[in-house]
Subunit: 490 residues, 2 copies
């Protein structure tokens, strides 16, 4: 069973068989890594980078060279943010235990966090990773409903435990999901076809032996190529009928906020405050309609319409919400939030203890991160810079035929890379990632065809950062065009 | 489905229905906690404690009162150890990313860690929790063997993801385990009955549709009441025939070192260096034979017989080793170590990425922790103080009939609490935990009958700490005896 992994088609990852093409320093590290960590680990880029330092929106390699980070959503308030670092250092020097002693920090943070959710989402349970949060959400949903069936999108990714890998077709397609999973196409356009498929799947599961336990969606559909909701103030988004159909079939609706959560999608004014508007506060896409350029409002973060959560763009209230990645700016902390009656029903049947879950150091990091999101108005920055990026990308698309649809909200923007016929061009997308890396701009791709540039930088990303990215993107596209002309066989 | 959890019999945990008996400060915190975190969370003790600070083997409550910590194995090198705190603070201020960029820290640590394992355990994969490590180990075992069946002990606990909760009967008995799980009794005496049951279970699974994927054991059997191996130098322990039977049936042997790992069981001289001995270096129990009081040797930590691992006491080499709790002294970090051919086979089929797994800050904490374990000779301390504790506990048992069997290695000692007929006495065990808490000594219990005091303090536990524990234990036993006499109905 030994062997080199078979990578079909172009890959965003380093290929181990190309190790001899690397400079000596990277070659030694890559060889050591393969020896110690094995073949299941992947490295970004044709030429992997050794990163040694980070600050704000910048990363630095071992030679001191600087890179613009357009990829990392985990250090969401910026790499090595001093307030988060200070909170971690202070708490680590004071106490780090667990949730079987009383501790005020976890209660203060839970109060603070739950106040940003709609009434009805009243309880928090803490884990260390988004995978654990989704795993717990499924345990709860299956336990409370007594059903097994789960509905996910075609390229969904919800984590790596056995249970959530079994609902993550992005890890290996339809063959890797469990028999109790039904797959629907990710939404496009106004989402009506998505709604139709979910309703059909809930009906099918309800009539099967599995029953329906849950519909779970990443509310920005990150791995499916970025599909933010297109909320019109006062009217529900396309997830509203999905939630209704889920409950009608006896299931629970789980909003996976691991990717969109904590302000990445930008602030957005509440329907009440913008009832005269015709667009939305944060829509930044060109795909199925465009935002009207409404100025960002100062946002009440205790209101559910604060812009912290992707589901709120659809004017829905989920049964369960899962959080992860940006929650502690890199410290391992995640959570499952849920209706109190669901948590009570679960707690009456079984205890839950996660050794590191909700530990004081992780909580301190999470509290500092939430404070910085608020104090530095990062959702508002996401709205403003995101809107600028989309307008400039749209302008660039006028001269660069490789740019197809652009969809986004705040600082989560998907840019489709297409061929001369407008079809997904994965090879060019991968070449673009590597050319941008040569230009010291770090970015990734997603989507079923892996042809969607994922613009997802740390939230303090500035207009100046955006300009640098746009300049290098335009340059990279030009370079690739010249390479294709000079190497027609490539 | 609302309702107060039904707790049968005595409980080590606070009962929510007793909230009105608490002082005002704790009552408010407990009420807030139930409102925010819900009923699945449990608190230690009749009267929960608000812990606000820790240092070495001491914890401090909100009033500044000091407690001796005989419970916490996660802050293994001592609460708030300055070298670990400094490593965390320094790395957090520098960089915290993920494993898709090259990083030297994870490679240096992997080299250092794997050198303490026997040849053949060559690869490390990093997760955030022991649950995730065991979950990954099962994914690997099932994937590589093509089988589903797993054998565990009767009160086994391997974690809280859906997959590992399904192999953890301690969470809810036989009814909670999956259909592909077989349960055997935990070892007693020389382990021969345990071996017989495992062999029978491997045969049964091999002949079933499930097949045998893995036998997984916590090598100190912590939740089963503490059963350290009783290795005689030069001869294998009772896990050796278990490993042989596992492989003969086509399965893999997983050593869960989340509880025993990283030196808790004490240093022990290698067979080669102690070939004239008749006892063992770290055996500290009286249950089925006693150690001969061999002096602790200075240990070569690059040797597999370093004493860092529980499985090494049985002179076996597992196929997979899982690590967790003490690994980063409280920072969420865990790992699965395995034979390279297994990791290669897994990696050829699928990628593995854990967002926070192996992040630079967690790795820095783990490296500092391992450095401190070595530099402060903590396994040697565990051996010396553990041996002292057992000799004194054995002396105490001569006058305290409540003390039954004593089993242990290093600073993991199980002390059975029994009734006048020598039978497990859970009620008295729970009363003892609460009386010790009143005396500012924090300790827990385990075992199928929940009557085993779990002596499992931070590893810098001193002879003076041991004396204080012994004094309070004797005093608590006396107090409980008086209470029983004065309240015969209790």
């Amino acid at each position: 069973m030994r062997g080199t992994p078979v990578v079909a088609g172009p890959s965003s990852y380093f290929r181990p068989e190309n190790i001899d093409e690397l400079p000596a320093a990277e070659r030694d590290l890559v060889a050591r890594r393969e020896r110690l960590l094995g073949q299941a680990y992947r490295l970004f880029y044709e030429r992997p980078i050794e990163i040694v330092r980070g600050e704000g929106t910048r990363l630095y390699d071992a030679d001191g060279a600087e890179y613009l980070d357009v990829y990392n959503n985990v250090p969401s308030v910026g790499h090595s943010h001093p307030r988060v670092v200070e909170a971690i250092a202070r708490q680590a020097a004071t106490l780090n235990t667990h949730t079987r002693y009383l501790s005020r920090g976890i209660l203060d943070y839970s109060d603070d966090l739950l106040a940003t959710l709609p009434p009805g989402i009243d309880n928090a349970m803490f884990t260390c990773t988004g995978s654990e949060a989704n795993d717990l959400a499924l345990r709860l949903a299956k336990g409370v409903t007594g059903n097994q069936g789960v509905i996910v999108t075609r390229n969904a990714y919800h984590g790596v435990t056995t249970e959530v890998a079994a609902i993550s077709p992005s890890l290996g397609g339809e063959n890797t999901v469990a028999p109790w999973v039904r797959i629907v196409d990710a939404p496009t356009g106004d989402g009506s076809e998505f709604v139709r498929q979910v309703v059909a799947a809930t009906d099918a599961l309800r009539q099967s032996a599995h029953g329906l336990a849950a519909v779970i969606v990443d509310t920005v559909f990150a791995s499916d190529g970025v599909v933010p909701g297109r909320h019109l103030p006062g009217s529900p988004g396309f997830l509203a009928p999905v939630v209704a159909a889920t409950r009608a079939a006896g299931g629970l609706f789980i909003a996976d906020e691991v990717q969109p959560g904590f302000g990445r999608l930008g602030s957005w004014p509440s329907a009440a405050r913008t009832s005269t508007g015709t667009g939305t506060g944060t829509d930044t896409g060109t795909g199925t309609g465009s935002g009207t350029g409404r100025a960002a409002h100062d946002t009440d973060f205790t209101a559910p319409e604060s812009g912290l959560w992707g589901f709120a763009r659809h004017t829905i209230v989920p049964d369960i919400v899962t959080l992860g990645k940006p929650m502690g700016n890199g410290m391992p902390i995640a959570a499952m939030l849920a209706r109190r009656d669901l948590v009570d029903a679960f707690g009456a049947e079984m205890r839950y203890f996660n050794t590191f879950g909700g530990n004081p150091v992780s909580i301190a990091a999470a509290q500092a991160t939430l404070d910085v999101v608020r104090d530095e108005h990062l959702p508002q920055n996401a709205t403003a810079v995101g809107r600028y990026l989309v307008s400039q990308l749209t302008a660039l698309a006028g001269t660069a035929a490789e740019i197809g649809d652009i969809r986004g909200a705040g600082l989560f923007i998907g840019v489709d890379i297409v061929d001369a016929h407008g079809q997904p061009d994965e090879a060019r997308t991968v070449a673009l990632l590597n050319e941008l890396r040569r230009r010291h701009v770090l970015i990734g791709a997603s989507g079923l065809a892996n042809n969607t540039l994922k613009v997802r930088p740390p939230l303090p990303f500035s207009i100046s950062d955006a300009d640098r990215f746009l300049t290098e993107l335009e340059g990279a596209l030009t370079t690739l065009r010249h390479q294709r002309r000079s190497r027609p066989s490539a």
